[in-house]
Structures are given as structure tokens and as C-alpha cells.
């Protein structure tokens, strides 16, 4: 879980360039305490043992993406990333959304001409 949070935070931090803030949090001991874009630190090293599901998903990528030639070592790191990914479901799933709350994008059958 923390892995994913750290990985996301790392992405946010580096994209936003607020990477310095990354160092604000201990990369080993904890996920961000607040929803702050901060940590560019990648997750894998902090997660020594990816879950079985993450490993299986990573191995499926290794099998399916033959052209990518994913090594076992890289696949293990990807598994750690995925392990973190899986926690996003808990985070986002914890927010209660009413059935009728639409996503902030609307498909238009008429395409851009209608804009």
C-alpha cells in the first residue's frame, strides 16, 4: 500500500517539480500523512516483498510484452510498483460517490464540432 502511495507521490512530486518535498517524508517508514505532492522516491526498494497478486500481474506483463524483454530483476521492481498501484483502489474507493455523480468528461457524439 505504502509502496503505491509513495510511487504516486513520487510521480506527482517530479511532475510538479516539488520533488524537494519528497524528502520531507521518510521513504521507509511511512506513506504521506497528507495529500501532498511530494515524494519522487520510487517505491521498489522500499517494498522488499511484493504481493502475490502484484507479482502475478508483473509476470503477465513480462509474458505478454515479449518485445519489451523485461528481465526478472526489472519485473520484480515493476511488481513493487504495481503493489503500490493496488492501494489506490482503497484510497479512491473510500470516497463515497453518489450513483449520479458523473465523471468530469462528457463524450460527444457530434465530436468537436459541437463544442
Amino acid at each position: 500500500m505504502e509502496t503505491r502511495r509513495r510511487f504516486l507521490a513520487s510521480l506527482i512530486g517530479v511532475l510538479s517539480g516539488i520533488a524537494a518535498a519528497v524528502a520531507a517524508r521518510n521513504p521507509v517508514t511511512g506513506a504521506p500523512a497528507s495529500p501532498t505532492p511530494a515524494r519522487p522516491s520510487p517505491a521498489p526498494s522500499a517494498s522488499p516483498s511484493p504481493s502475490a497478486l502484484a507479482r502475478e500481474l508483473a509476470r503477465s506483463l513480462q509474458r505478454d510484452l515479449a518485445k519489451a524483454h523485461l528481465s526478472d530483476e526489472l519485473t520484480e521492481k515493476i511488481a513493487a510498483d504495481i503493489d503500490g498501484n493496488l492501494s489506490i483502489t482503497k484510497s479512491l474507493g473510500a470516497v463515497r460517490l453518489a450513483n449520479w455523480e458523473e465523471p468530469d468528461f462528457v463524450f460527444s457524439a457530434a465530436g468537436s464540432d459541437e463544442a
Binding site: V14, S16, L92
Partner: protein, 469 residues
């Protein structure tokens, strides 16, 4: 006035020189081309210097001026663009090894509009590979190497619009255009000591720009003053049939009428709690400088899982945008070790996470709209720290600092912001103040920055590498 003074002038000043025939656009362009070739390469700020096109456009600008036809404030002004904008016949590398030889046969809408305004395209400027979309943890995350801030060559110019920040700060161009998905104009503007405007989502067409996240990407000016940013946004904003997300809202950026009532500026609780002391001091001084024209109000930002939301979008949209090079392994040729790997986990992202994030954005927009009922603007430091050192992993550079969620929140809600220099901190590096407005209120954020720059002269400070050459 010597060459460096000319090179570091604002658009207003350069335009006045051109219209007074104190110098020609060709002369000005040659000055900038020389600086791009020399200082630009020293800073790793440049991907391609466009000598032929620049001199051709400059000569055309001069001919029009000689004939009494001035197109506007950008007429004859040399500029550069982040190397994710297509320019016909020139390499457009997206900062990344897999695209180092990519050439398009058309101009991006922004480039076309700047040409129409009389601008002179001089350079494609360095950027973090793929705008950082695959992740990175070091300054050396571009196939052109780490881009240095002109203020101290041991430090990074910021990202992902690294080259535009460094080039404007060092006086290598009259202005530049950068892009932001989640902070990539604000951060390099802060680290390089320039005035960067991130327009509202949809204000500027992205046609011809690399897509990282279709629902987040914005293009905006990076300049040597807020007034310059006003001139550039006026030239590039507006609906474009080639970009369905571009807005049809009126794009009138003439200076707003003087307000009779003071601005109400909201400062988020904790905005300076974990920033470097010098950043805090300079931010407080900026607010003090606005005393008399602005009332400062403490506000609380609403709680949302900002990190997870933007992460879900980057994973889903960024993964789709670069699925091909992830799947075929070319992503593994990126410079940054994290970037070589990051995209793979995107391919197993849950679709429901992305859709729920987009549902939450609707709710988030309403929450921020409510804040903007109470205040005209939100202010905070543009970054928690000064520029990061080159050669040190980002997560090791400045332990204990944290800028808060405002930049990510702004990008998720698509509202405009400006970052302007407001002093100096560690290692002689610049700091910045950031002002955020409600959607499509670019005039307001520019106006408050202009007011600050009328009361301070931080934007008139220039790095030694720029003034001595």
C-alpha cells in the same frame, strides 16, 4: 546599453527598441542565437537552435516594420518553445531518446499563433523526458542532460519545462512557452527566477503539443515579467478547431480596471509550515508588499486524496499516451532509471480508479469554486525550496520540506496560476510567490503579479552568467 542589457530586457522594452528602430529584429535575433549557441549549451537548455527559420522570420518582421505595419507587442521578438511543441521541419524530441529524430511537417497552433503575432522562433528548448510522465528522481532525466539554473550551475533549472526556465532566466530568448501537467511551469519558473503563467485548462490550444495527460496538460508563457506573460497569453489563447478542449470563452487580456476594493487573498493554512525558512520569509515579504491593495485571509484547503487522484490520471492517460513505447521496450532507453520502469505499472491500472477520479474532480471543482466565493486569489510560495542540486537524488536533497497540495489541486481543477520571483534563498538561488485564480481569471493572477512587480524589483535581478556575457 550593452548586449546583456538588451538580451535581458522585457518584451515591452524590446518592442519599444524595435519600433523606435534602435535595433532591428535581425540584430536582436542574432544576439539571442549567439547566446543560445554559447550560454544555452553551457546550461544544457537547448535542443535545437533554429538559425535559418529565426533569421527568415526576423527579416520578415523588419520588412513589415519598415513598411509601417506592426502586428503587436510580439512583433520581431525572438522566442523559444519547450521541445514538445511541433515546429515544421525541426526536430521535436519530447526530451526523450526514443523520439530524438522525430520531425513534424506542421507548426503547433501556439507556434503558428506566435508567428502570426510577429514572433521569431529561435529554439526548441530542453525538457524532462516525456514531461516526466514515466517518473524521475534526478535532474539528469533528459536526453540532453541536466538543465542548469543560470543562478548557480550546480543546481537544476526545474522541470519539466527546464529549458524555457533557464533560457528566459539567462536572457537567451525574449520569452518562452512551456507546458504543465502538474507543476511543470510553476516549478522551473521558481527555480530559474522567471515569471511563469499556467493558464486555465482549455485556454490555450494543445494542437501539436506532446500529450501526457489529455485532461491535465496546459501550455503557457514563461517570461521576465508578469506583463510579458500578459502579452504572450493574449497572442496564444483562444479556441482552436484542432483542439476540442480549447475554450470558446472570450480571451481578453487587456489590463483590468483598477479595483476599488482591495484584493482578497487567501493563504492556505500551513502553506509555509514546511518550506525552507528563506522561502517563508520571502513569501511573507511579498504579502507585506501588497499591503494596502490586498487583504490576506486564512483559508483551509478541502481534503481530497490529491496524490492518488493525479496519480490515477497519470497512470491511465500517460500509460495510454505512451503505451506503444512501454510495450515495445523503448521506454527502457529513457535517461532516468525510474522513468525506464514507471510506465509498466500503468498498464495494469484499474479503469474504475480513473473514472472515480474523474467523478471526484467534479466535486473538487465545486469545493474550490466555493473558496473563490470568499477570496479573489489564493497565494502560497511557488515552491517549498530553492532549486535542487544536480547529482543528488531528489528525495535526498532537502529533507523535511513540503509544499502542500495546492499545485496538484490547481492542476486537477484546471485553474490559472502565476509564479513570480520574490527573493533569494540558499546558495544564491531564487524563490517565488504563486498566485492562483478562479477558472479563466488569468487577468486577475497577472494583475496581482504586476502589482507585486510594481512594488518590488526581484524580477529585475539577473544571474551573473547572463549579465557578464
Amino acid at each position: 546599453m550593452n548586449d546583456s542589457h538588451v538580451a535581458l530586457s522585457t518584451i515591452d522594452e524590446l518592442g519599444a527598441m524595435l519600433r523606435a528602430r534602435a535595433l532591428s529584429s535581425v540584430e536582436l535575433t542574432k544576439l539571442y542565437l549567439n547566446r543560445l549557441d554559447t550560454i544555452g549549451k553551457e546550461l544544457n537548455a537547448v535542443v535545437t537552435v533554429m538559425h535559418d527559420r529565426a533569421l527568415r522570420e526576423a527579416a520578415a518582421a523588419d520588412a513589415e516594420l519598415a513598411a509601417g505595419h506592426a502586428r503587436g507587442p510580439l512583433h520581431g521578438i525572438p522566442y523559444g518553445v519547450k521541445d514538445l511543441l511541433a515546429a515544421k521541419g525541426a526536430r521535436t524530441t519530447w526530451g526523450a531518446h526514443p523520439y530524438r529524430d522525430q520531425i513534424f511537417d506542421f507548426d503547433a497552433t501556439v507556434v503558428r499563433r506566435l508567428s502570426t503575432a510577429g514572433g521569431v522562433l529561435c529554439a526548441k528548448l530542453a525538457m524532462i523526458e516525456l514531461a516526466g510522465g514515466m517518473g524521475y528522481n534526478q535532474a539528469d532525466a533528459s536526453f540532453t542532460g541536466p538543465c542548469k539554473t543560470p543562478w548557480n550551475l550546480g543546481y537544476w533549472s526545474g522541470g519539466s519545462s527546464s529549458g524555457p526556465g533557464a533560457a528566459v532566466g539567462a536572457g537567451l530568448v525574449g520569452f518562452a512557452v512551456g507546458s504543465e501537467t502538474d507543476g511543470s511551469i510553476m516549478n522551473p519558473s521558481s527555480y530559474s527566477g522567471v515569471s511563469g503563467l499556467r493558464p486555465s485548462y482549455g485556454r490555450v490550444s494543445r494542437h501539436g503539443a506532446m500529450a501526457l495527460c489529455w485532461s491535465l496538460d496546459k501550455l503557457g508563457p514563461m517570461c521576465r515579467s508578469a506583463s510579458d506573460a500578459r502579452a504572450v497569453i493574449a497572442a496564444i489563447a483562444g479556441h482552436d478547431a484542432n483542439d476540442a478542449t480549447s475554450s470558446r470563452r472570450p480571451a481578453d487580456f487587456r489590463r483590468a480596471m483598477l479595483r476599488r476594493k482591495p484584493w482578497r487573498i487567501g493563504v492556505p493554512d500551513g502553506a509555509t509550515r514546511k518550506v525552507q525558512p528563506e522561502v517563508k520569509r520571502n513569501f511573507e515579504a511579498s504579502l507585506a508588499a501588497l499591503q494596502g491593495i490586498a487583504d490576506v485571509i486564512a483559508i483551509q484547503l478541502p481534503h481530497f486524496p490529491y496524490d492518488d487522484m493525479v496519480g490515477a490520471i497519470i497512470a491511465a492517460e500517460g500509460g495510454a499516451a505512451f503505451r506503444e513505447i512501454i510495450a515495445d521496450g523503448r521506454v527502457q532507453t529513457l535517461r532516468d532509471p525510474d522513468g525506464r520502469r514507471g510506465g509498466y505499472s500503468y498498464l495494469v491500472t484499474y479503469a474504475v480508479d480513473y473514472v472515480d477520479t474523474m467523478r471526484e474532480r467534479t466535486r473538487m471543482r465545486a469545493a474550490y469554486d466555493a473558496i473563490f466565493e470568499r477570496v479573489d486569489l489564493i497565494a502560497a510560495p511557488g515552491d517549498a525550496t530553492v532549486a535542487l542540486p544536480i547529482g543528488v537524488p531528489f528525495d535526498k536533497a532537502y529533507p523535511g520540506t513540503d509544499g502542500g497540495p495546492l499545485v496538484t489541486a490547481n492542476n486537477l481543477t484546471g485553474v490559472p496560476a502565476i509564479a513570480v520571483p520574490n527573493g533569494f534563498g540558499l546558495h544564491g538561488l531564487p524563490t517565488s510567490a504563486m498566485f492562483v485564480g478562479r477558472a479563466f481569471a488569468e487577468n486577475s493572477v497577472i494583475a496581482i503579479a504586476e502589482a507585486l512587480q510594481a512594488r518590488t524589483d526581484w524580477h529585475r535581478n539577473h544571474p551573473t552568467i547572463a549579465t557578464s556575457r
